[in-house]
Symmetry: C2
Subunit: 226 residues, 2 copies
DNA sequence: CATTCTATTGGAACGTCGTTCCATTTATGT
DNA sequence: ACATAAATGGAACGACGTTCCAATAGAATG
């Protein structure tokens, strides 16, 4: 890769970081994480791997950049919300929907700690936590609770999609298979897990996700009242 | 790979699933996720890749099995706790410490959704949530909040360790580098993140982690009182 | 004890990946 | 028009997960 210089492209059909990222997102959406290879990318862009490396340092950075393109879109959506709580809920749902539409974002996020995509989310949520009146010394832990919960659900959704794809079945069939295997566990050793198997079938991911957010929000409120 | 039959080994130095998993854990601890290859494993066990495949179906399953060995140890530790809350705190800290000692477990966990290692954690936490008096229909979301938070922190710790290793620096130096890059962000667009940069240096991961657990626990309590 | 059979072994080989290298092409500045 | 530098694209490298298969070693059989 090299430093950037020129402002206007030298050729009409020239390569650019943005075109590469755009193509990467398309491949990731269409073929999942494993589908993104420099060879697939070369073919789609009608070029060779070497040309791509002129614009992008390595695959990890490319994945992070593709992830950031999605996150930036999700976090720049206009926020209509009366209270900080309402805005946090909207932000969280925005993340959920973004990862639901682009499952690879879930795992890409966890591989880029402290980098741009994560910082975007941290900032948006942090401001609302601050607006909530959480004292300075508790803000990190509070934002961390929300952020890590969102990341945890996202990573889980990503993994479900990935495993399902590998076995050639869709997400709900995969969850069904998990529910079946849970219901065959030892009744004594895994009583709780067995009781959850029923709930796992046909539950609403999104509802359960936002219920978790509400739980944390009410924890924040409870702590604030002490 | 093949089906299991024999009970006693045919040779003294014979291969076995357990010996392979044990060696995998050693390699993962010593060289991180990328260090675990069938070639490295072959060398350590003084055999060839083909022999390993007789006992293990593929790399993914091997990683999950290695992960499960760590999780099983952590979740079978004796639990002394007066209240369900205290037990949940102990379990969560056990997970934190296990991932801190074996960072690769953090990312291995997210790649095995609904499988044995996750189920172990789900069961242990679920029982305490149940003991807490959370109504049946809220148990899934409640356990999910705790579990996903733990997973999120774990994945984050794993990623920090992995990125640090790649750059040849240790964890605290890596966090320091992140803090530096945060403090150079635009003051208007990233005011909150900048204010967190200071906290990031020299904070106690473990304390912040348990503070998040307490936040969720108090949210559970608050919801229960409604 | 000799022989057969089958579970296991270990190393060679295949296809794919990320990445590097480099000869070639294209636009710019003189 | 020519020299220079930016940008391209395809060949090649080393490492990986996995498959294949000829060789072994203990168990079972006679």
């Amino acid at each position: 890769m090299a430093k950037k210089t020129r402002s206007s492209p030298r050729r009409e059909d020239s390569l650019s970081r943005d075109r590469i990222i755009e193509a990467s997102v398309a491949i990731l959406d269409g073929s999942g994480e494993d589908g993104l290879t420099f060879r697939a990318l070369s073919e789609r862009l009608a070029t060779g791997p070497g040309a791509i490396y002129w614009h992008v340092p390595n695959k990890g950075d490319l994945l992070t950049a593709a992830c950031d393109a999605i996150i930036a879109r999700a976090m720049n959506a206009p926020l209509v919300g009366a209270t900080p709580q309402a805005i946090i809920r909207t932000l969280a749902l925005g993340m959920f929907d973004a990862i639901d539409a682009h499952p690879w974002v879930g795992s890409a996020l966890t591989r880029a700690p402290g980098q741009l995509p994560m910082v975007r989310i941290l900032e948006r949520i942090g401001r609302q936590v601050s607006a909530l009146g959480v004292p300075d010394e508790e803000q990190w832990a509070t934002v961390g609770a929300l952020l890590n919960y969102i990341l945890g659900v996202g990573a889980q959704n990503a993994a479900n999609g990935q495993l399902g794809r590998m076995r050639g079945i869709d997400r709900s069939d995969f969850l069904d298979a998990v529910a079946t295997s849970w219901s065959q566990l030892d009744p004594n050793a895994y009583a709780f897990t067995r009781s959850m198997a029923a709930h796992l079938r046909g539950h609403d991911d999104r509802n359960d996700f936002i219920a978790g957010i509400d739980l944390i929000l009410s924890g924040i409120e409870a702590s604030r009242r002490l």
